[in-house]
């Protein structure tokens, strides 16, 4: 059974269809990559999955649960974690606090327990901290632990945001342009991390990415979209060779002699 099923999903803003009757399936263990030119509706797909936007048509099923029935803050508890294209961290708080927040869905301590910091609350925080330290170790960001997130470089902020998603121990991880703004070395690191996230942590990854080197290295399925609709779906090599995809990126129409190069 597929992990995430998008069945005929759409959203429009004013007269513009950002996602236009799109369907796809993600299986457990996939690294599923969405590509497409600017404004193709890639991030809108993510915002539909995380319920920031309401579905206009169609259904989203995650492990058989209908995501459309859940509130935005309930998505995390189903096991979906995400990062944002324009990094959304808690800038006034330390890296450690940012990561601790990623554990929020696992919190079992009640209001009173927390207000009085009863043993239950302490146990909760210590267990969360244990997991957070594992992720800090995994991503090699020990030296930033106590720095305010707002003071860090772009690349490190990106990694901290990935960390915040990882500490929630998701089943499905949504990465919105993980390599944008990273140096070539940092992009190489990102490739290794995504492979480790899939192989060692067993997390299924869905990502939006422009860097085709990264896409070819890690993705086993690539979905190309333009104007909110599917252009092609398949392996990285197949999709890159697809005439419709080439046309969307380089302009012109399929069959145009220019676009075949």
């Amino acid at each position: 059974m597929s992990l995430l099923t998008a069945d005929d999903i759409s959203i429009s803003f004013g007269g513009i269809r950002a996602v236009d009757h799109l369907s796809f399936e993600i299986d457990p263990g996939d690294v599923f990559c969405v590509i497409g030119p600017n404004g193709a509706g890639k991030t809108s797909i993510f915002n539909l999955v995380s319920r920031i936007y309401p579905l206009e048509t169609g259904r989203l099923l995650f492990q058989g649960r209908d995501l459309g029935r859940l509130a935005a803050h309930d998505i995390a508890s189903t096991g979906i974690a995400r990062t944002f294209q324009n990094i959304k961290l808690f800038d006034n708080a330390s890296v450690l606090t940012n990561l601790m927040l990623g554990r929020y869905r696992h919190n079992r301590a009640g209001l009173l327990e927390q207000c009085l910091f009863l043993p239950g609350a302490r146990r909760q925080v210590l267990a969360d901290r244990e997991k957070v330290e594992q992720v800090i170790d995994f991503l090699d960001i020990e030296r930033y632990r106590d720095k305010p997130a707002g003071d860090l470089s772009y690349g490190v902020r990106k990694i901290v945001e990935l960390g915040r998603a990882l500490v929630s121990e998701p089943t499905l991880l949504l990465l919105d342009e993980p390599s944008s703004g990273l140096s070539p070395e940092e992009t190489l690191d990102m490739i290794f991390w995504i492979e480790d996230i899939r192989d060692k942590l067993g997390i299924t990854v869905m990502m939006i990415e422009h860097d085709m080197r990264l896409v070819s290295a890690v993705a086993n399925k690539v979905l190309a979209v333009n104007l909110g609709a599917r252009l092609a779906l398949g392996s990285a090599t197949d999709v890159q060779a697809d005439p419709a995809v080439v046309a969307a990126y380089l302009g012109g129409s399929p069959g145009d002699p220019l676009s075949s190069h």
Partner: protein
Amino acid sequence: MRGGNSVKFIRKSSYDYDLRLFPEPEDKFWYALLGIALLIAPLILPPYFLGQAVLVGIYVIAGFGLMLLSGYTGQISLGHAAFFAVGAYATAVLEKSLPFVLAFPAAGLIAGAVGILVGLPALRLSGIYLAIGTLASSFIIGEVIARWESVTRGSSGFAISKIRIGDFLLDSDARLYYLVIAVAVAALWLGRNILRSPLGIAMMAIRDSQTAAQSVGVPLARVKLIAFALSAAFTGLAGALYAHKIQFIDPDQFTLLLSVELLVIIFIGGIGSLHGCVFGAVFIIVLPQAIAILKDHIPSYLAEQTGLQAAIYAVLLLGFILFEPAGLYGIWLKTKHYFSQFPHYQKGSQKDQKSHARGESW
């Protein structure tokens, strides 16, 4: 933790380290000293200053309430005078039939419930609109208090008897002082507990990025309402203590000016820090005294200007916002840093310190 050229090392050996009430070993010593000073204060302070100390304690509690909502959750309120008034009137009315030990917590609960009522419509507002929304709510509550004469006695005011706990009568400022200090310490302890728990982290997350908070599973409406309820409850408890300190309340004591004073406490004290509530409360009580003393030493044409106090408030507030957004707590951190580094202090190391001052939670 420290500036780049620090000569001090902190060796953490367990995750529990960051959860301790007093993060550094020497803190225990200083807080113990402060505790002793607070305990013996009534024995040495002249009566007038003791009365002022009671007011400082009350403002610490009220300021803490606003700090939870505005400083940590990022929801600016211009209406906290209303919760203060609800607490004061609730205790006054309830004590006609209930003993203080029941009426006092009940006043906090009632203020908290009013906080939820104000919070519900405010959930969809943010920034300046929220400020206006809370201001409007406080006008409504103020109007209700002024007109509901059968219960509140309206503008003729309400006289309040001294606090009686069992057979023990709190008939002096010294006795009231101990009660106020106990409540203030309990409030700050509760604040520290919240801040080291997931709830506190969720509050700060809402302040910094609502979208991201939602994406990690923070239920925005619920956490904001909890912040509103706790904030209003503590401000209400402060109001209840204030009623007993002044022993006479009428609707004119709880105006917009009081709401602004509470905001000044958290801004000048240091937004987003528990120490800030204390520094700010001391500041707001001491400043008028300082101005009164100052008046004797400046030319009479200046001293007799009516708006002198308001003007000094305004200049200080602007000064803090422009030059020291971390408030008095920021200055405190820098001073501490200066002495801990002496004589190696360098100007550049302030930068680290400043950024550290922004998030005091861990």
